[in-house]
Assembly symmetry: C2
Homo-oligomer: 213 residues x 2
DNA sequence: TCGGACATTGCCCCAAAGGACAATGCCCGA
DNA sequence: TCGGGCATTGTCCTTTGGGGCAATGTCCGA
């Protein structure tokens, strides 16, 4: 799979060596001497990509960068590269959503499959994120009142109940409801509920870990 | 949190030492000299519990047991115990849903929090599993025809369309639909769709990894 | 101050969903 | 062979949902 590999390592020679291997394998490459550098030149997500990230680098550490990226809603899969076997850190990294952890010296038999997996996962998660963002955008277009109606509707309340709860007429609720369906781009209650459910599930996941996006 | 710790290790002295530490910490303990032994005496899931599992044991290995348990739909969190730092295996174990990986000698500062986390997670996942099983059970009570109607209904099709697609009368669909709502224990389309969505999402997760249950 | 976004309602009509009551036909295991 | 589960329909009536058409009132930024 074609894709871009972002290499973050403070050791210039290691960085270059890795870059060569990646280019030879057919990937686009971008290198960074520090985590901050990557954040500054934050790569536009145009295609499948991943990060080869050294754990121990000056300034923001590998795990620090991982956290920052998660906070920024990045979908870039991270493959950690570490000089020594640290089980504690490895567990933590994977739980935080890292794609893999490789120890130096990095064997190609491990590196290449890991990169391929990462790119494939990124492909998938980008798609998911795109769809979710689309839903969120639609949801954001609802007016406050429409949002209230939306929430009650997907909970299964009938117009009469909603009207009573919001202190309005059933006719009014119908009007809001109509606009909600319109703005959300669905034409059946089932689709609306399904959409709400997805937003909800994904919202929960996002709250839990950085792998959500 | 009170709970039971299942210890699997072929080294009797290590097993006993660990058992003592766990009892002292206030947990119920059950020990097994092999993975097979645990499978044979498969613990009934009565309360929060977890497994302290040695990676390298004769017969079924730790990871092997992990896989078997996943296939059996177990929700028991596994904390791996390993003699040496193996990053590859660690990554694989965590990805396969392991709760944690600890290296010997096992420090209490790592062990006790890990066990607590495992028990807490088990508590949660048991709850999720129970709810999911409930849904599955309800779904299983539907007759073939009702299942067909169920699927079309949650897709947002209206009775008329369903009737046409299934080659039946609208009246018939209403009858099936009514029984579906009844058997699934809901009284609004929204709830039915929500239920279907959960079953679907969780089904996907189950297919992906052993952590699903 | 004017136009636009938002919230609200009324009236009317049609389509769809929910249920009550009732009945028919098939198939299968006890 | 009989009872039960399952699938199917009919008729009739009520409740909900969906929309067209139209209008009013508030609030706010240009």
């Amino acid at each position: 799979m074609p894709g871009t590999v972002h290499i973050v390592d403070d050791d210039a020679s290691f960085r270059t060596a890795l870059e060569r291997r990646m280019r030879k394998a057919g990937y686009e490459v971008a290198t960074y001497a520090s985590a901050q550098q990557l954040l500054d030149r934050m790569p536009a997500e145009s295609g499948p990509a991943c990060i080869l990230l050294d754990v121990k680098i000056p300034g923001l550490s590998g795990p620090d960068l991982q956290q920052r990226l998660a906070e920024l809603g990045s979908t870039l899969p991270i493959i950690f590269v570490t000089g020594y076997a640290d089980v504690r850190a490895t567990v933590k990294a994977i739980k935080a959503g890292a794609e893999d952890v490789l120890t130096k010296p990095i064997m190609s038999e491990q590196l290449l499959p890991a990169v391929e997996r990462a790119l494939a996962h990124h492909q998938t998660s980008r798609g998911l994120k795109a769809r979710l963002d689309e839903l969120r955008a639609r949801l954001a277009r609802l007016t406050p009142r429409e949002t209230q109606v939306f929430e009650l509707v997907v909970q299964g309340r009938i117009n009469k109940q909603i009207a009573q709860q919001l202190g309005a007429t059933e006719r009014t609720i119908k009007a809001h409801r109509h606009r909600v369906m319109e703005k959300m781009g669905v034409d059946s209650l089932a689709e609306l509920v399904s959409m709400a459910e997805r937003l909800d599930v994904l919202r929960r996941l996002s709250a839990g870990n950085g792998k959500a996006d």
